[in-house]
């Protein structure tokens, strides 16, 4: 299935030579002129609601020690589910006990304890987290590829543009986020995610609007914010192999680490 889809996509992409040309034809001077207009958001950003999360994985706010922040998790209180959305959400919550994630996926990686980095260039913005999850946001003026050249992926397909210092991102073709990560909202592959991201002092803020004709009765609006997590001097990529989610008596638990298991 995936093989056939990939091949089909490659063939379609070959037939569209004008798209890559957009990125490759700019002169060095034009690139430098474009670069000077761009903001710079250095640092390793974590969702404000997850900042300071200890190794337990339980954020301070969940321990009653901090304010509640918006989230794009399935637990968000304000998701305007329609009937199908409610059915999916109930099923996801019913079956999530002890489920392990494969990573955060989109949109959860934007609302997580795992730091993200923004690499801003004239043609493209990369958003990448410490589990190698990468979003490519093309800002070279291209549109989304034609539908026959798109298929759902964990991070979807994104294009963007700058409105002053605000990065405006449009993302489509995201697989059901709940399949990848048990805390992801069970949105459909028809969902459209709009983000407006800007730096506000030392806080990075995003207004997110999610529309999904399959699972939502109305647009779902979320305000996300990130702060620079302390203690990071570099991005250290790790495999997503440390999910030790367990389940006992109806409650999620943390399984012993490999080192502790060996010692038992």
């Amino acid at each position: 299935m995936r093989t056939a889809t990939t091949l089909a996509a490659l063939l379609a992409a070959t037939a569209l030579p004008c798209v890559p040309a957009l990125a490759q034809e700019r002169t060095p001077q034009a690139r430098a002129e474009a670069f000077v207009q761009l903001p710079y958001w250095p640092g390793y950003w974590v969702s404000e609601g997850a900042a300071g999360t200890p190794i337990s994985g339980i954020a301070l706010r969940a321990q009653g020690q901090g304010p509640i922040f918006d989230s794009v998790g399935i637990w968000a209180p304000n998701i305007p589910w329609n009937e199908e959305g409610r059915r999916r959400a109930e099923e996801a919550l019913r079956t999530q006990g002890g489920r392990k994630g494969q990573g955060w996926g989109f949109p959860l990686m934007m609302s997580a304890a795992t730091p993200i980095q923004f690499l801003i260039t004239p043609e493209e913005v990369l958003i990448i987290n410490a589990y190698n999850e990468t979003r490519h946001i093309y800002t070279d003026g291209r549109g989304h590829p034609p539908l026959e050249d798109l298929w759902p992926t964990v991070t979807g397909n994104s294009i963007g543009h700058w409105e002053g210092d605000t990065l405006v991102v449009d993302t489509i073709m995201v697989t059901n986020p709940n399949e990848y990560f048990q805390g992801g909202p069970p949105l459909s592959e028809e969902a459209r995610y709009s983000e407006r991201i800007r730096l506000d002092g030392d806080t990075l803020r995003a207004e997110v609007t999610i529309e999904d004709p399959v699972t939502l009765a109305a647009p779902w609006k979320v305000n996300l914010s990130w702060v620079r997590d302390e203690g990071f001097d570099r991005m250290i990529q790790v495999d997503w192999n440390n999910d030790r989610t367990g389940f006992e008596n109806g409650v999620n638990t943390i399984e012993p680490s490999d080192i502790e298991e060996e010692g038992q």
């Binding site: 299935m1 995936r2 093989t3 990939t6 091949l7 996509a9 490659l10 063939l11 992409a13 070959t14 569209l16 798209v19 890559p20 990125a23 490759q24 060095p28 001077q29 690139r31 430098a32 670069f35 000077v36 710079y40 250095p42 640092g43 190794i55 494969q102 690499l119 801003i120 260039t121 043609e123 493209e124 990369l126 990448i128 190698n132 999850e133 990468t134 979003r135 490519h136 093309y138 590829p145 992926t153 964990v154 991070t155 397909n157 620079r228 302390e230 203690g231 990071f232 001097d233 570099r234 991005m235 250290i236 990529q237 790790v238 495999d239 192999n241 440390n242 680490s257 490999d258 080192i259």
Partner: protein
Amino acid sequence: MTLRFVAALAAAVLATSGPALAQDAATPEARTEAFAKLPYWPGFWVSEQYLQTTISGSAAPRPPGSPPLERLNGFDAPYNDEGKARQAEAARTRAGRRADGWGYPMMMDAATPFQVMITPEETMIVNAYGETRHIYTDGRPLPPAEDMWPTVWGTSIGHWEGDTLVIETVQVQMPYTYFHGGPVFSEEAKYTERMHLDGDRLVSEFTVEDPVTLTGPWSKTINHVREEGYDRMIQMDFSNDRTGQENGVNTIEPPADEQQAQ
């Protein structure tokens, strides 16, 4: 890993000079001036060895008489006794093994396209499996030894010599552990790369020094070429390794949906 990670975070908090380099920013003018001097290597690059690789995993045949291409798999490295022992063990256990991804250095000699994203402070090399190398070019040195531990992609710093990106990478886990076609170098190996654009080729000159497995430096040159047909990077999980084995020969297993139909 958890304990190591906590220890590393604690160490990173103590080493406050690192983040300051990246965040104390150069003024916008200085950044723009620096950016204007940097090269631009757009495209989706694959090792020339793998150009036009089909879904079978086999590359298109090269014209007769083409010179052999160099590889990073380490098969011809000058191994010492330890290196030879590791190679023999790898040869014995390689068949049918599945991989976790390419890892470093094999992602630089792969059929999976990568992008090189160049900014003044950092160059990122990222492939279609999300495997990412962060190469800091902001003048920082490598972190102190007590703040590093081996990872699949190691720790890299770099600098520009004209249009050549010079990269030093250390603390790479034994590549064979992550990918069964990788070399058996130790975590003490130091990898040096000199990467520059030569016409339509991105040329990477590698030198590996490893006191544990090599008798001396090992150097290889890998040419990267732009793969055709890509208009964007599509990130995928490394979940499509269908390596099988039958009668001592590696095979390709049917995709999951075909297996279900059987």
